[in-house]
Amino acid sequence: MADEFYGALAEFKTPEDLLAATRKAKEAGYRQLDAFTPFPVEGLDRILRFPRPTISFVGLGGAIAGASTALAMQFFTNYDYPLNVGGRPIYPISAFAVVTFELTILFSALAMLFGMLWQNGLPRLSYPVFDGERFHRASKDRFFLCVGADDAKFNASETLAFLSGAGALSVELVPE
């Protein structure tokens, strides 16, 4: 019975209500929880116990890649065709610093942006919650809590009842 649903969606007026409801849901033993908000709500991730994101490491990786690419490029080109330029050394680290710095930043920034999109599974144009009748307000002024249908404790009617009990303005089932 649960399969044809993606989950149950509950609409709240304020972030505070959302946080309260989420806490309740956790205590009630729901695990497959996600929230949809018009702006990042402080503390939500703690309550939902999301792991710390790893974007920073992606960025670090990018930085290292950038720096090494730049240095490799500059050292190689000067090694491949060493020319006397203004009596300067063939491998002037100081002169290489600029490009190295720029590429470090470039690679790192791009890595983080794409890393973020990748981890978020974006672009994802079509997604079940968009079927939510009032979901369009999630990008406006409402705060939604979603209990996944794959949650062990999920049961359409009970979950809906529980959510409205938690102070939802409206609740609905989102089809798969």
């Binding site: 018009p38 702006f39 300067r88 002037p92 720029e102 590429l103 930043i105 920034a109 942006l113 144009l125």
Partner: protein, 451 residues
């Protein structure tokens, strides 16, 4: 600072903000004024195209340049545009990190402005080449010649710096834009808009997980953007400081240029802020307090730039190097003294009015002052290039420079190149960060309740 007072009027609803801002692209309000602006802008863009065709057909000889002044308008406007292009990223990134929320109303169009300013700057290094069709030789690729770019050259650094800056600014701008595109998508009723925003929003749904990763990525990118901004204009300054020409060969140049850049950038941001808010009636989001803060920043950067001027004089005199002093004298009293004094007057005289709170809070006054700063900074770049080159070491090579018609046409043309996409942009994307405004509004409400 935003802790002390509410920068956004609290008597407005989140929904109100969302509708108000998404309506600008979705149901564009000020059509006639926009058309007029667009017409002027396109005319300028056309002028640019004509100039470029002429340039590529006949060569850089159509400009006023010569030996010794073989860098003038092209490089000078390049620096000017790039300087302007520094405010956006500075505002959003730096202020984001320092958690000054008042940026939220400004950062979006500041960043947009940055992008197009950098584009305008970016075309100059190509236009000014004697043989622009070989510009790709500046990139390392396995050529049949077996020759590589020369990485000791400031110009080589330049290419990488500007491209990096453009890409990162773009990335940063877009990352910040995604949630708002989603908001616009959800407000859109016409199919076309839905698809446009639907695709550009990449299907953003405001999931808590997403927000979490997004925030980390956004803040870290900001953290990178700040040193990047500083590095880019420092590097541009090296374009001159690496050369031995008197008036260029100075260690003050990097900070001097960076501050000057920020100065001119904030001026342009103020101009846009004032015009947009009156144009689209956004006084509730871009408040007088915003202008006040902008005014303060403008004043601060302006004074720091002024320090650069003073130090330059000290630098030359202290060195006791006859050629340096010669150049200094030329700047004060030479054939191009007007650029020096013009820069001083336009940059610093009206600026002083900003000591007064009332001036800072008044839109049109800020507008006037900012305009004067933009002109002043343009003159400053002119001064730095021409007064140093037209009289360098050997008396026998001293010469002069007079801009030709094509110098001017190319310059004004780039203003078109800046305005056209910018005008298009304000029809397509929310010019003020919706979700951040709402966040700010929410926090303010909270503070009111408990405190």
């Amino acid at each position: 600072m935003s802790e002390q007072f509410d920068i956004l009027p609290t008597r407005q609803s989140m929904g109100g903000i969302a509708d108000q801002l998404t309506r600008i692209p979705l149901h564009f309000p000020a059509d006639r004024r926009w058309m007029i602006a667009m017409t002027i802008a396109s005319a300028l863009l056309l002028l640019l195209m004509v100039s470029v065709v002429e340039l590529f057909t006949r060569g850089v000889g159509i400009w006023g340049i010569n030996i010794p002044v073989n860098w003038a308008f092209a490089i000078h406007n390049y620096v000017w545009w790039l300087g302007i292009g520094h405010a956006g990223t500075l505002i959003s990134a730096l202020l984001l990190l320092t958690g000054s929320e008042w940026r939220n109303s400004l950062n979006r169009f500041a960043e947009t402005m940055t992008l197009f300013a950098v584009v305008c700057a970016g075309i100059y290094p190509i236009l000014h080449l004697g043989r622009p069709w070989y510009v790709y030789w500046m990139f390392p690729y396995p050529a049949t010649m077996g020759v590589w770019p020369q990485f000791r050259s400031p110009l080589e650094w330049d290419i990488w710096a500007v491209l990096t800056y453009l890409t990162v600014s773009l990335a940063f701008w877009y990352t910040g834009l995604i949630p708002d595109l989603a908001a616009a998508r959800d407000r859109a009723t016409r199919r076309g808009w839905q698809i446009f925003f639907g695709i550009t929003a990449l299907g953003w749904r405001g999931s808590a997980r997403h927000w979490q990763r997004w925030q980390q990525a956004y803040r870290l990118t900001a953290g990178l953007a700040v040193p990047l901004v500083v590095s880019v204009h420092s590097e541009v300054s090296l374009l001159f400081a690496v050369g031995q020409i008197p008036g260029w060969h100075s260690t003050i140049f990097p900070p001097y240029f960076v501050l000057g850049a920020a100065f001119s950038g904030f001026a342009v941001v103020s101009i846009i802020a004032v015009s947009l808010r009156s144009w689209f009636g956004l006084k509730n989001l871009v408040t007088d307090d915003h202008l006040n803060l902008l005014g303060m920043v403008l004043l601060a950067t302006g004074l720091m730039t002024g320090y650069g001027y003073i130090f330059e004089v000290f630098d030359a005199v202290y060195s006791g190097e006859p050629h340096e002093i010669q150049t200094l004298v030329d700047r004060f009293a030479g054939a191009y003294a007007w650029t020096y004094w013009g820069a001083v007057i336009f940059n610093f005289i009206p600026l002083q009015a900003l000591w007064l709170r009332t001036v800072r809070r008044s839109g049109w006054m800020l507008l006037v002052i900012s305009a004067s700063v933009v002109v002043g900074m343009w003159l400053e770049r002119y001064m730095i290039l021409v007064t140093s080159l037209y009289r360098d070491f050997l008396v026998s090579s001293w010469s002069h420079f007079t801009p030709s018609f094509w110098d001017w046409s190319t310059y004004f043309g780039t203003i078109g190149l800046f305005l056209v996409p910018f005008l298009i942009a304000i029809r397509l994307v929310p010019m003020i960060s919706i979700f951040e405004s709402k966040k700010l509004l929410h926090e303010e409400n909270e503070e009111q309740q408990h405190g």
